[in-house]
Amino acid sequence: MITALLALTAPLVFAAPPTKSGPESPAKSVAIRADVVWLGDGRVLEKGVVLFSEGRIAEIGTNVSVPAGVETIEHKGFLTAGLIALHGYTGGQAGEMRDDARPAMPNAKIGLVFDASSPDVADARAVGITSLLLTPNAEGVAPGLTAVVKTSSRRLLKDEAHLSLVFNAGGLVSNREPTSLSGAVAMLDQLFAKPTGAVERAHGGSLPCLFEVGEPADVLRAIDFAKRHDLRGVIHGAVLAGEVADQIKASKLSVIVPAIGVGERRRNLKSVVALAKKEIPFGFGLDSPVNNPADLRLGAVMCVREGVDAKVAWNALTSEAARIAGVADRVGTIDRGMDADVVLWSGDPLDLGSRVIAVYVDGARVDGDKR
């Protein structure tokens, strides 16, 4: 019943729908030789060369033969994969990210409202963020589908990354059902009793879920729900998720650590250390543009200072984030065939004092066009 209604009232989008194809004109080939190249799978190349061709990484190594006529850029510093910010609203108009009239619209696609020309997108790109996981606002019980976008064009990397399911009190309002946490779970159980559309895909395991939680108790309720309906996916929103790390580990769910900022409570940072200790896969949320995009790297650095292994923290910004967003085959690491999403840094990227020198998305340099 509810889903039928939803089909009729699918979000009205006035912007032209984004294309799934690549950028308008393929970027020209270029080779970059950097002092240090972090491939993202643990390997590090000194004086490594990365060759871009048609928006993809064509070749990597220390002894790459650069085709004639292709420019080689010498970079004194580090080269890494672009950063991936999970859980953000960047590029979507605030009003488009929420629909508080209906409690469940599992088929609503947030990717449709992405506006790459928004100044927030340029801000994200300027600090080295090349992909974003856009999430619908956690309203009701099933606010829609997440999407992965690039920060350079209207290109959608994935228009259906997760089915968002809400288990925190933030999704409840007093003037429409459900008005209680137990009521929310009951409504979700109903959705999954006769699954259609995105719910059906999630139920069958082909679509991961994004479990929106708050307190550790919400985490446990989400884990129970995932177990009951055989769902996979990722938990977002619990700053203290690490305090129920054992249960998360057993559930095989991964975690999006909510945005970390200046003055973050130490207990919250310790929670991330606990996740890392249990080897639970995690990435970092940003909730941009509410938060400054520079906070993404700041959060990772703060976790390192609190005791998270530097490699684990870096992967959480890149390769692990790509896995959580379901786009690890395209972005998050530097490898042949991957999208040429690359950041050049003046020094060690885990030193906040290192500057972004250049950002490439799909092989084209994009850091010049700031807002």
């Binding site: 200046v262 003055g263 973050e264 543009p289 520079a294 700041l298 650095v301 703060m302 885990l350 004092g353």
Partner: protein, 487 residues
Amino acid sequence: MLTLVGCLAPALLSPAEPASVSPHSAIESHTDGAQAGTAKKDPFETIFIRAEHVITKPGTVLDDAAVLVRNGRIVAVGTGLSKPDGATELSGKYVCAGFIDAWSALGVASEALVDQAASPATRTADGVDVFNFDHLRRDALRSGVTSARIQVGATGRVGGLGAIVRLAPGQSEDDVVLSPDCNLWMTIGLTQGSQPLFDNQGELIGIGGRAMDPFERVESVDRLVSTLQAGKNYLIAKNEYKHELEAWQKTITEKETELEKDAKKAKKDREKAEKDATEKNKKFEEKKYKEDKKPTAPRIDEDNEVVARAANGELPLIVHANRVAEIRALLQGTESLGRLRLVIAGGAEATFFSKQLAERRIPVLVWPAPLGRNRPDEYEASDLSLAARLKADGVQVLIGSGGIDPAATRDLPLLAGLAIGAGLDRAAAFEALTIGAARVLDASDRIGTVEAGKDADLLVLDGEPLVSTTRVLNVVAGGRVVALKED
């Protein structure tokens, strides 16, 4: 006796010179061991620190050098020093001065931070809570911040006197307060409808409410300037009174001498006049001298005392102002106050006035997130690139954690890192966190560099300071090695 003489009795009118307390008096008393009324203290240990590089001050590095600390102070810095017997030895790759958070909330109850009824004479030092925040102090020390300027009334039009505190935990108030009056604080554009925001654990997380419109903001600059002008006038009145009193006292002395010289005649005349009056059944009246008219002292006003000191440049005035309208009005309005030492805090749009700021040597104290594009009254620059842009224009830059969240002081070195990442050079960032802040806040005789005679607030590091991956190995705060172990 002459009535005149009675008038000469010196009233206690010495124009209130602010009591100048020797900055070292508190420290020196430590050497006497335990103090009455405070917790029992360990005596100071002698500390000998070796390092591959000792950064004595920005730009000056001694290689393979050592620092000797005794009785709370640095007594020697250099190469070729040898470790005295019994000294505690520390070593690391770098030694530098402890960082100073020029805008912190660490050590003051949040109710006091957002007190809107503060007046110029309100002292942050009176609100220092030494029995609280120890875990946050330890966190700050672990990341290398050894002292902080704290400020009550952060959202009031006038916030009162800021204080510099040392962050070592478990100390008495006397030991903690390095300066009880390092600045006067005022704000523009923050007072109307400002409400403190608390998170669900009851911790202060920010200031909400819609800020004022430009006309209200400019009007509030006018009020600020007239407050300063009133302080200046108060000072003028006090000085005039001082001179008038001196002149009057001089005249009185002269008259008295004159009368003394002719005392016999004067006595005779007076007795005759009294006798005549009695015979004629009239009331005897003492002769009036025009010198009897003593100048009246201006009413002592604690607030004006403080404002006068600021107007006179005896302590800096820090004004929290962000947008073009109020910064322009502030710069215009204070132009005639030549001795004022103005500092702008926040300064989100200060780059529009870089030239003036550089010429008038007005530093800007930047902080992590001056609102942002998503807040009601949006304005430029919501990141720390402001520091780099101002510095490039020749403006002195300081960095603070923002004065609202006491936990943020821990992240001061990361904020400096972000500023560096946004283009500020490392040396300038290091200066901002050490001697730069100390100079602006008149504390450079005690903190900010690694030099003999200074308080021993030192960091022992495993790498270059302000690199995010550098670890703090040891902290010496107020001459004592701080335990950095987890609680």
